[in-house]
Amino acid sequence: MATCNFLPNALCSFPAISDASIREARKVIDEGFKSLVREYTGFIDTIVQPLQWFLNFLERLFTNSPWIIVLAVILTIVYLGSRSIRITIGTALGMSFIGFIGLWNDAMITLAITTVATLISIIVGIPIGILMARSDRAQASVNPVLDVMQTLPSFVYLIPVVMIFGIGKVPGLIAVVIYAVPPMIRLTNLGIRLVDKEVLEAADAFGSSPSQKLKNVQMPLALPTIMAGINQTIMMSLAMVVVASMVGVGGLGRNTLQAINNQFFTFGIMNGFALVAIAIIFDRTSQAFGKRLQKHSEVVHG
């Protein structure tokens, strides 16, 4: 470059560490990580074993049961959650569409992993969210971690996940949870922090202990926000099952991956829309359920 003639070399091209040193460093870190993982393989496997069992159990339950029973159970849950005939009929149509195009079994596998991922996200996310709401220091230290979890390209953390857990359903599940849990944590934290100070003061004035305050005031009043968090978590885990199929998760995600690799346009569209159908069912049902929980705030005195 012309302008570079007037400047010393170090200011012109960035003074990077030599390729050799980087190669060396990478080798050391990778080797170190690998040997660490090798050492604890047994331990790690024991820990994630229950997840594997639960996931397998649910998957087998969903795929082995006759479709008519599964559909009936789904419709019952949707109706009990939403109390809406419209959403229930929509669900019936959506699920039938998935069945007609021959994706029933794959949809069941996806449903199983999404259910497990959502449950884990709720179990992990709500306590962390409560902790963050209670202490500013916890909030300050957890927030950057959540930022990284949400912005780091999912392919990047798939690498260590695969190195630690190998290829299979469980690493896929863990990748999905990493991606889906941040909104759960954030919205739990936000919901509790937004609770009306006056109501909290009233709870204090009547002598509530911290746990009574959490149970009687903070959690119920934060519930709409927490429900929004659950909704987001479900949506994100559905989005992530496609990426997770790269490490061995089956179902609609794997079909989509195949379609990308082979340029099967129609197959891709079919699987994509099956995912959309499931997403809409989850979304409408959980939102209607959340709204029903908030019925008391709807009838406002004029």
């Binding site: 009233a202 009547f206 008391h296 009838v299």
Partner: protein
């Protein structure tokens, strides 16, 4: 339940970090403005000494920013004092342990809030038994008590409504029922009626007075409205800039305001409905003709009674019926009109 009074002794509150270190300077005469300007701390309360009588209503009155809401929050220690004591039944609330304080709040105090502070997800009856829930009272028992107080505050039929379905006045009735269901000796009312419109406010004052006549709790009532203070208060303390400027009965304050500030307030009061026969009467002159009136009759009511009887004077009697003083129309009228000096004082104050 035997009531106990509340003694507030030498209470100071300085907002901001390490407020305690400025106490001596304040005691030595540093002003609120200097403290704020030189040290960035806000003086909330300064040397408050109020004795709140057992079984009576003590009204703390002041305009916004006078520290009245801060003061009431010291009684159940929602705000920790910087210095001083709040003594109830021989115990200083300010030095209680966290557990003792929680027990004190559960069993000895109940509070009503300006913005109601009801739980939106609970029905009226569930809100009412909130304090009992906290104490661990089983619902079967607490609902019975809750139901009783809901009826007493006039909300029968609304037990299963949510707060959002009620008007402001009705929501505050729920707030009152919630406080009464706790069956606590101390009732703290923080601008409880300030958010209500005037007619409903008077209505709620009547509810409180009727209940108090029977319950005899130690009530602390915060307001910015002198009419409300005079109507409710057995004792009134007037706060300004975190200091008590005058305390006494309503009669004391209306008849002899301590300074121009209070004089300006009192000017607007309907004296006929505040002053009582026994406060303005002349010594008993031996004549027992005319209407016989109880000592606590307001002079407006006295004037009405005298006029209806087509007389010009009345005999004031004590609770046993013995005559203690004489009241004529001229005395009544001169007590009703504000003295000229108060008019001048008001102009001076402005």
């Amino acid at each position: 339940m035997a009531s106990h009074g509340i003694e507030i002794k030498g209470l100071y509150k300085i907002f901001g970090a390490n407020g305690r270190q400025y106490i001596d300077a304040i005691k030595a005469g540093m002003t609120k403005t200097e403290l704020n300007k030189n040290h960035g701390r806000v003086l909330g309360l300064k040397d408050i000494n109020i004795s709140m009588p057992a079984g009576g209503i003590t009204v703390v009155m002041g305009l916004s920013g006078s520290g009245k809401s801060t003061l009431i929050r010291h009684i159940n220690r929602l705000i920790d004092p910087t210095y001083g004591e709040v003594v109830y039944d021989g115990v200083d609330v300010c030095t209680m342990s966290e557990n003792d304080l929680r027990e004190f709040r559960r069993h000895k105090t109940a509070m009503v809030f300006q913005k109601f502070a009801l739980l939106p997800h609970r029905t009226v009856i569930e809100n009412t038994v909130y304090g009992l829930d906290i104490q661990g009272v089983p619902r079967a028992e607490s609902f019975k008590k809750g139901q009783y107080w809901i009826e007493r505050v006039g909300l029968s039929g609304f037990e299963n409504h949510y707060p959002n379905q009620l008007s402001g006045g009705m929501q505050q009735r729920v707030g009152l029922a919630r406080a009464l269901t706790n069956d606590a000796d101390i009732l703290l009312m923080d601008e409880a009626y300030s958010a209500l419109d005037p007619l409903i406010r008077v209505d709620m004052q009547t509810v409180l007075l009727d209940l108090q006549a029977e319950l005899k709790k130690t009530v602390v009532f915060i307001t910015h409205d002198l009419d409300e203070a005079l109507r409710l208060g057995d004792k009134i303390a007037i706060l300004r800039d975190g200091e008590v400027v005058q305390q006494g009965t309503g009669q004391d304050i209306v008849l002899s305001p301590a300074d121009d500030y209070i004089t300006a307030f009192v000017k607007e009061v309907n004296r006929g409905r505040v002053l009582q026969a026994k406060t303005v009467m002349k010594p008993f002159d031996g004549l027992t003709d005319g209407v016989r009136l109880a000592g606590n009759t307001t002079i407006e009511a006295a004037a009405r009674a005298i006029c209806e009887a087509s007389l010009t004077r009345a005999t004031v009697t004590d609770p046993t019926g013995a005559p203690v003083g004489t009241l004529d129309l001229h005395t009544i009228i001169s007590a009703m009109v504000s003295p000229a000096s108060s008019e001048e004082a008001r102009i001076a104050a402005e």
